[in-house]
Amino acid sequence: MSEWSITELMAVVMAREFRDGEIVVMGAVPALPMAACRLARATHAPRLEFIVGGSGTVSPEPPSLPLGSCGGDLAPAATTLPLPDVVLLEGRGDAFDVFCAGGLQIDAHGNCNLICVGSWDRPKLRGPGTVGLPFLPNTRRSILYTQSHSPRTLVERVDFVSGPGHPAGPDEARPYRKEGPSLVVTPLATFDFSSEGRMRIRTVHPGVRHDEVLAATGFEPAPGPEPGETPPPTDEELAILRSFDPAGILRR
């Protein structure tokens, strides 16, 4: 087994989650979800398509993973949508299947927050702003990820809902009856959601202990099946991943 970085593991986990034919949208800093999409296309999901941030490019295959989401290194792509059309279609509710997103905070119900830590009018930390996260419930489902797994990032309740997750509690209907967040990927573990829409540990990454995950998580995960170990990247997955990441963006 080759050595791999945590980010490579995260990309592999996300790639396995995509289904063939899905249309995926992603925002800023797209290297990780884009790598996951390309890996999925190269393996089990050849008809998956992905739209990269403000560029509007559809399934671009640049020689190296891009750092940014709007640069010239994303062109040419087979087609490109003008950004206002991407935004429009995000509201339509049946144009896109998966939204890949994250946040300064992600809470136990999969709500995301890119706006602020603390109160909105006098924040302890002002985030960049929510961009397209309010559209999260409009794709069939979403996959959340964060490079920072800590009690400050994974919280019981976000200080500001800027990207809606599952409604709290079993009685409310899920928003628009779509699936909502289906997976959360961190450097320590993966999570899915209970029938009540609360995050629970699905797998723990190789070399990480279950109690480390709990200690780094700012809420009590819902009970669920005994978490297994996240299956590490296969040599084939790693070879494919690195074929479009010659600069090693995912290994930094």
């Binding site: 709007c70 950004l83 890119l114 006098r122 002002r126 929510t130 309010p134 800027s162």
Partner: protein, 272 residues
């Protein structure tokens, strides 16, 4: 349309204190030549409206202490981190934020371009805390077809917008080369449009461009020739973001004591 120097274009088409829209997405196509002109002349900006994702074109104006309020879905430096001046100004209460998301902003600009007073929000926004904190942009409206209540976003017409485009022809038509982002839409919504371009070409040279890839001259008030004028951001197809120069800005902007020196050094003359 007229081809002008940055100084004349800004003086003539931006009224101090009015609403200024700045184009460019993330670390691409920020109209820095025009923005530096505002910084250099210390022109106050009443309200700054950005594209769905702004970086240095917004943070620099805030760092210079020129912006009273901002309407923006995102100010940050993407893979280089948060926006130092924006963060500090909001956390200290010095900058009023009109909270908005990418969808509402885009639709508000569309409405502004069409004499449409407001747009009902698509699903999603209603599940966030955003509209509650921004009563200036969001109100409840009753759908006359279903009777349902939902959020509406007010339309938006920036008094002036600054854009960076690839090319202008001598008649003042401009073209976007690769990605129009929301810049093209912002021009439709604006009352006055000033475009900095990488290159000037003869009249007629843009006649093979696709309809959605250009703006006709009658929608453009002034063109400023500014090759390389988006630096330190990139211009797709021409140059990449200059991460080192962006890093130098970020380091200065994080430290108020170094900021004055940075502004003096970089604002002294032509574009960086």
């Amino acid at each position: 349309m007229r081809v002008l120097e940055a100084e004349a274009a800004v003086a003539e088409y931006y009224t101090p204190g009015s609403t200024l829209g700045v184009g460019g997405m993330q670390l691409a196509a920020a109209p820095m030549t025009l923005v530096w002109e505002v910084v250099r002349r210390r022109i106050p900006v009443g309200r700054l409206v950005t594209s769905p994702s702004a970086s240095i074109q917004a943070d620099l104006l805030i760092a210079a202490g020129l912006v009273s309020e901002i309407l923006s879905p995102y100010v940050g430096f993407e893979y280089l981190g948060l926006a130092p001046a924006y963060r500090r100004a909001v956390e200290s209460g010095d900058l009023r934020v009109l909270e908005i998301d990418e969808g509402s902003l885009t639709h508000a600009l569309w409405a502004g371009g069409g004499g449409i007073p407001f747009v009902p929000a698509p699903p999603g926004l209603d599940l966030t805390d955003i509209p509650e904190v921004d009563p200036e942009m969001f109100r409840r409206v009753t759908d006359p077809f279903t009777g349902e209540e939902r959020w509406a976003v007010a339309s938006l017409r920036p008094d002036t917008v600054f854009l960076a485009c690839a090319v202008a022809d001598e008649a003042g038509n401009v073209a976007f080369d690769r990605f129009p982002y929301t810049d093209r839409l912002m021009a439709l919504a604006a009352r006055r449009v000033v475009v900095q371009v990488e290159e000037l070409v003869p009249a007629g040279a843009l006649s093979d461009r696709a309809p959605g890839a250009t703006l006709p001259a009658f929608l453009v008030d002034a063109v400023v020739l500014a090759p390389g004028g988006c630096r330190p951001t990139g211009f797709p197809g021409r140059y990449a973001p200059d991460d080192e120069a962006l890093g130098a800005y970020l380091a200065a902007a994080r430290d108020p004591e170094r900021l004055a020196g940075y502004l003096a050094e970089h604002g002294g003359g032509g574009e960086r």
